[in-house]
Symmetry: C2
Subunit: 132 residues, 2 copies
């Protein structure tokens, strides 16, 4: 941890002023790797769509096939299949074929906890987009 020996700071921006850059560097170093953060964001983004979150909420109740899922959330089976492929690629859901049908369920309890945690926040008093 260098502690800014002399450095009159040629570039006298705020970052080199009040909150010394050393602290910023420390925080930067403590952050998860860029790749991990990328995966994290990708996962959250998958949860960040009304259609998909409905599908996942439904799947947290019961295993379901594509067409039931589609009718449940009110989209075409094609659209559902596209979404399920995304969710599957991120290991949020898992598929199981039975005859001509494919049943989907949440991949693990992790996802349930994630949904519940989010619901807790969403259900908080005065949640949801309050300007200023």
């Amino acid at each position: 941890m260098p502690q800014a020996p002399s450095a009159p700071a040629l570039d006298d921006r705020c970052e080199t002023r009040h909150a010394d850059p050393a602290r910023v560097d420390l925080i930067r170093a403590a952050l998860p790797s860029g790749e991990t953060l990328e995966v994290l964001a990708e996962t959250f983004r998958a949860l960040g769509d009304p259609t998909r979150v409905r599908m996942l909420a439904a799947l947290s109740r019961s295993e379901l096939c594509v067409c039931d899922l589609a009718s449940l959330v009110g989209i075409s089976e094609s659209a559902a299949s596209h979404q399920l492929r995304l969710l599957r690629s991120l290991r949020l859901v898992r598929s199981r074929r039975e005859g001509r049908m494919v049943f989907y369920r949440l991949d693990d309890d992790h996802i349930v906890r994630l949904l519940d945690q989010g619901l807790e926040h969403a259900a908080e008093p005065g949640a949801g987009r309050e300007e200023r």
Copy 2:
């Protein structure tokens, strides 16, 4: 669980066949309200951006001002301000003015848990976009 009394099912789609519609209706009824799911999705979507998730991860370590946050994640201060407004409107961060500077921090422990939960999933062996 009712067991599909008669119902020859005029509309012989899959939804009325194997997984009886009654079960689907039960699940639909058990889902959180549409508005809650909307807020939930909006919250997750806010977390679903690499820039924002970096900002939040940084804020989980320390309170920071806009320009430190901007330099930390490598975007302009204007862009940071835009993102912070979004995060603030969703109650994910909270601001505090001190002189000309504005410091941001996570709104509550909820957010930390949400991030940690997501990180746990993202850090899982073989996480992150595996095709098929």
